[in-house]
Symmetry: C2
């Protein structure tokens, strides 16, 4: 066998096929509006994806075909009538940084190289965007789940002392608070960090699905009286069920008085600080001790990309830094540039996801990004009005941000849950639109999430028309 | 303002510039062997990366130029004379899956779409490759740090009972064991999971840097007698300092008798199971309860890409699964396919990193991948022999896998540490080669890691010649 290298024997073939694949990929994106929203993977392709581990390789033209064949079978989130969960709609220009990132193959755990400076630039921009101090801590991460883990670990360790990293939180009986509508990633972080998910107290919500701050005060008092140690309160900037934004300034006030770490889960809502219409409602977010948010949701950077900002950079560093011999930083050479990103989070090898965020902000600028979010908020208002005006449809929650929850509720149907679940499945399977469902006050709602820069009002009109049509067809006879 | 969408106003311009960028990126990779290993980012570019948050966007040709300008300023790991830390050298063909992944913008948290089936295929291949059962749990992750967190959380929760997720490990006084040469990600996982890093006991090593199993037995006994709860032992398949492989079968025997969770950190070493030469030394790895390893190291998939396998799929699921209303799985429609990847790890949004792993295994096949690793092991032996034969050079540890630690040690120099650190900085800054350093038995070593499919023997000859030349120049006078 000749010297084995993974470089192609035929560079021209790789080049030709990569260009071809680029064209097919851009064709796919250019026609994002056409055709079905969601198309299930055909059975033949499912079967093909149960192959044996390959012992020998394939040519680049075959590989290109295998890859291109997958293009039609996404979840549908690049289509203007994808309304499920909270997915970003993606960015065609995002193919450019990914090509360069693949060619650089950078590991952003640390060391002194170009990619590190790009991530620093992105973090500086995040601080500016979110009104955080220029010297705060921060890290680019895969998303808000990781960001929350990093923020709450810092809060945990600061409360019990950073030397506790050796001993664990053991007997400290830490408790924290988040609204009953908070995202599950918060309780999951409590579980992961060894605090137990019960240590996260669900604070009841007001009628607008925001945290009841009187209840919060009461619960803190009761827990402290019971010998527990309240250490953190988590505000939600954009709840996933209905898009509610907690009274962040009110929570900040309580956190200051009670000496609690104030964390904001701004997974999709925080970035709406770029929208003139939403910005005033995020007042108080800039006072948070830590903030978690995603670029891959309402900002449409391709998956995955999120960020954590931590006001107290020293605390952030003390919660994660620790250098074994083979990672010793230096003042000169390749190992220079202390501290490294590994000192701010649990991951030691880190891909170059900062590049696509940097390119995205450069490509579009904050004004256009803000305008796309404002338009989604206006669309949510339009959709809610149309639902309100439609006999047979019922709005299930106020549509104050970008999420509209409603149901088909004709007179005389006993089991509306089953009917509405069936409507959503039919909408998805027909390929015409892809909302998801949720449960509000115990009842199933059709949930329309508008984090989609391609959606237009006719798309929403079609959604309602089809909901009514399918609903009538599925009515129990 | 017209309807704002992030789609390009001029698709042809995007297309033209993306093709241009693809050519420049492939040019960069095709000349990976030429020129300097590491080139620091020029000051002018550092200054340019301290710009204000952009309010308005830029044209695609300008963006392409900004991106292409970064290409020369990687850490150097695509160059055949990069020997630092444990970096993969990357894969030119990896640009293809990244183009498709960018166009699909898939979120692999869950739901029923094509990307999910690709990840399942990759996990099946991982099970086969590592000799794990076909029905074991697994997840594609960013790397071994995350994989270790997931594995040890499962171990933690299984020991204290999965209902403990609500209460936390509190009083359980869990302790685990890893060799004193184990990777820092293990202690970091203990810290993150609330067990405290002291709960990881460093087991002394034998002269070959592998875990002393007699010491392990003794420590378990002592801890149990002291009322602690031994719950896990971590074997290392390829230590980062010298490439030592613990006696995995021996650890598996002890774990079975003592009822401990047996985790293997195989960050780079586990994938050498594809090398005929290394495979026999990994005997026992297939008996692990969990295994963490990377694709971006010795397999050269572009950063970042790793995997965790967990023998007991039910335990894996019970450590992470939990479904809020808006993530309810269904048997039909887009929400079908229970369980989802979110049920096996802490991240709820997940990019399509499975695609580049899938494409890489298809492109090359396991035989060629194994051969590149065998060649690196042979190169390590060659380098160690050459060092042994060179007056003035001293081998610091046995080179049994792919890592060679040595130093320049001429007669009569008191401070060899300072001299060897200076040699490494000079090697890096001269652009001729990029080893890193570590500390062995208290002394600084020049550390040459061979996870590089582009390295040839003349590259190693040049490294030694330059080490001797620079060493002589830097000798204290």
């Amino acid at each position: 066998m000749p010297d084995p290298t993974l470089d192609p024997a035929d560079w021209d073939a790789l080049r030709r096929n990569a260009h071809d694949l680029l064209d097919r990929s851009l064709d796919h994106l250019q026609s994002a509006r056409d055709g079905r929203v969601w198309t299930p993977l055909p059975d033949a392709m499912k079967a093909q994806l149960q192959a044996d581990l390959p012992a020998t390789g394939i040519a680049h033209d075959v590989l290109a075909d295998r890859l291109a064949a997958l293009l039609p079978y996404g979840v549908g989130n690049t289509h203007p009538r994808f309304f499920g969960w909270v997915h970003g709609a993606g960015n065609a220009g995002g193919v450019m940084p990914e090509i360069v990132a693949a060619a650089m193959n950078a590991n952003l755990g640390g060391r002194d190289h170009g990619a590190i400076y790009v991530e620093k630039q992105v973090l500086d921009w995040c601080r500016t965007m979110m009104g955080f101090p220029a010297d705060c801590g921060g890290l680019i991460v895969s998303g808000t789940s990781m960001a929350t883990i990093i923020a709450l670990k810092t809060a945990r360790d600061r409360r019990i002392g950073f030397t506790s990293r050796a001993k664990g939180p053991g007997q400290a009986r830490l408790v924290g608070y988040a609204s009953a509508q908070a995202h599950s990633c918060v309780a999951r972080a409590f579980d992961l960090l060894g605090l137990g998910s019960d240590a996260l107290r669900p604070v009841p919500c007001l009628a607008d699905f925001t945290m009841d701050l009187c209840a919060l005060r009461r619960m803190i008092k009761q827990d402290a009286a019971a010998g527990l140690t309240p250490f953190a309160v988590i505000g939600t900037a954009g709840s996933v069920n209905v898009g509610a934004i907690d009274d962040l300034a009110g929570i900040a006030d309580i956190a200051a008085v009670k000496d609690l770490w104030f964390h904001v889960d701004g997974a999709f809502g925080a970035t709406a600080i770029l929208s003139d219409r939403v910005r005033p409602r995020l007042k108080g977010m800039e006072r948070a001790d830590s903030l978690a948010f995603d670029f891959h949701k309402w900002l449409h950077v391709n998956y995955d990309a999120g960020c954590v900002l931590i006001r107290d950079r020293d605390a952030h560093l003390r919660a994660f830094s620790e250098r074994p011999d083979y990672l010793a930083a230096s003042t000169r050479g390749l190992a220079a540039g202390n501290p490294w990103p590994v000192d701010f989070g649990p991951e030691l090898s880190r891909g170059f996801r900062a590049l696509k965020i940097w390119a995205h902000l450069l490509e579009h600028g904050t004004e256009k990004l803000g305008a796309t979010m404002t338009r989604n908020v206006e669309q949510a208002g339009y959709l809610a009005d149309r639902i309100d005006q439609s006999p047979g449809l019922e709005l299930m929650a106020p549509a104050t941000l970008n999420i509209v929850c409603f149901r088909y509720a004709p007179q005389g149907v006993a089991d509306l849950d089953t009917l509405n679940e069936a409507i959503v499945v039919e909408l998805q399977e027909s390929g015409v639109a892809a909302p998801s469902t949720t449960r509000l006050h115990g009842a199933i709602a059709i949930r329309v999430n508008l984090t989609n820069h391609r959606t237009t009002r006719p798309d929403l009109d079609l959604l309602l028309a089809e909901t009514l049509r399918i609903g009538a067809v599925l009515l129990p006879t």
